[in-house]
Symmetry: C2
Subunit: 101 residues, 2 copies
């Protein structure tokens, strides 16, 4: 499993618009055959800070995600909503239990 | 959904021992009735950096997790494995799709 995190700081007046754009990206990414997670979370202490947590079967599946229409739409839509550059990090999975409860 | 991330930097010689201790914590936490995720990931660019990504139904469920025997065992076991203090962050969920693929 290949894990990607993205931390985004949004201009306060753009928070709701950012949520709308990112929900579109999340819902469409979840339809990709090799995507396993696309969680969107909002910081408890700073409502302008968001975390995207994405899981793909392989690094190549993430690369394919970055060529989709919904990814480009999200990237372009949120570009001017950010208060600073977004911070991405990539990981290899050590433990990943997808059993629903 | 209540999301917790923990970033941990481990002394290089302790990486395998840290994995073992954290796998024990993850497997036991996944048995908690209101835990939905406990992913362990290792940074692509720095193998001494780990990310724990945890999801609980509510903030109270996370508080209950922090009172379990497996949590205390993990906390005490890894204490001297860390190269610096671990960094935790807490989030409220905006989008959380648990559909398996």
């Amino acid at each position: 499993m290949y894990i990607v995190t993205v931390t985004v700081f949004i201009k306060p007046e753009q928070i709701e618009a950012f949520k709308t754009a990112t929900l579109d990206n999340a819902a469409n990414t979840r339809k990709e055959p090799h995507n396993l997670r696309f969680d969107i979370s909002q910081s408890e202490e700073d409502p302008a800070r968001f975390l995207l947590y994405e899981a793909y079967k392989t690094m190549e599946d993430f690369a394919a995600h970055q060529k989709t229409a919904h990814y480009f739409r999200w990237r372009d839509t949120i570009k001017d909503m950010m208060a600073q550059s977004r911070q991405g990090a990539k990981f290899h999975s050590i433990f990943f239990d997808n059993t629903p409860q």
